[in-house]
Symmetry: C2
Subunit: 201 residues, 2 copies
């Protein structure tokens, strides 16, 4: 903006909103205006919710989930089968798998994948904590649900290596055709994997 | 989410973020996670900025702009020509025109357009305040910069009517081809207007 048309407090709000993923400089301005217009219905409550989250948010010392309590909601949920641990790269993957609601298991968030080029080694990830959980006993199965990328697969292999000798079943997500996906748009690797793992109808 | 995977404070933050324009339920979750991960760099400052904006934001009693002071930054800017008032529908239009930076004028925000079908009459808009500003004197020109919609044009006519007899020049934005626009994609009305208002090269 060439000249200032509003107070510094609102300009600052716009600048910070522009850093939120999903909002750019232009939509941050639109969002700020909307918030300011609905100041009592939305801006106030959102400010309070953010302050509350800022004060209370913790990283779970057991699984790495983001929560306001430590251990987190998932780790303390007695209705879950804590003998099965789903290993994910990021908290967003944990949330995505929970949305699917297919498993009733515990989780372990690695916080990334091994990537020597980016300088991410085993000590930068929460792998030690995972090994400790398995060593402590009571874990029957580890489902390694990392992304199907080179870094993800490298990380999966490294974890499998670290756990060799321990009595735990290690599995990975199936490769195949996405539900609702069209064959024409899929890569050869996926099609090959889907053919190899074909099932009887 | 089928089962709770995080604390109620974070769930509440996601719900409120989903109401921000530009964010939906899915991107609100992504945004919340990003905020929580950058809690000291982004979440805390944003909470403070929102709280500050919530406490301080005012609608300018003179022009209707959103600001933290009343009269607002624009109305108190001595470097502007306050004899020229640009009449806009919404604060976002004021901000958009200021980004263009073509004029150094004052503004008047109507807060909408006349729309009998939606029950919006003259008393619901800030038209009385505009007439008062002109009656008080010192206004040379009123540039009616409402949207080129039926409601916008109706509002423009109504305002012109209300000001008949007062000594003020009333103008409107030019119609024509948008800069960078392709003729092929323009409607007939715009092309006709652009042809009629053609200028010598």
């Amino acid at each position: 903006m060439a000249k200032r048309v509003t107070g510094p407090e609102i300009e600052k709000l716009i600048q910070l909103l522009a850093k939120v993923p999903g909002l750019g400089p232009r939509s941050a301005r639109r969002a700020a205006l909307h918030l300011v217009k609905k100041k009592d219905q939305l801006l106030g409550p959102l400010a309070d919710a953010m302050g509350e989250a800022h004060r209370k948010v913790r990283i779970c010392s057991c699984c790495g989930n983001v929560d306001t309590s430590d251990p987190c909601t998932v780790c303390t949920d007695v209705r879950r089968d804590h003998a099965v641990i789903i290993v994910v790269e990021d908290v967003s993957d944990l949330w995505a798998l929970e949305r699917a609601g297919a498993m009733n298991a515990a989780y372990h968030v690695l916080g990334g994948t091994l990537s020597p080029l980016d300088g991410v080694g085993p000590d930068d990830l929460n792998i030690r904590g995972l090994v400790d959980r398995v060593v402590k006993g009571g874990v029957r199965e580890l489902i390694i649900a990392v992304n199907a990328t080179v870094e993800g697969q490298t990380t999966a292999h490294y974890i499998t290596d670290q756990l060799s000798g321990l009595e735990v079943k290690i599995t990975r997500l199936a490769h195949g055709v996405p539900v609702g996906g069209e064959l024409d748009y899929l890569d050869e690797g996926t099609l090959t994997a889907a053919l190899r793992a074909r099932t009887a109808i």
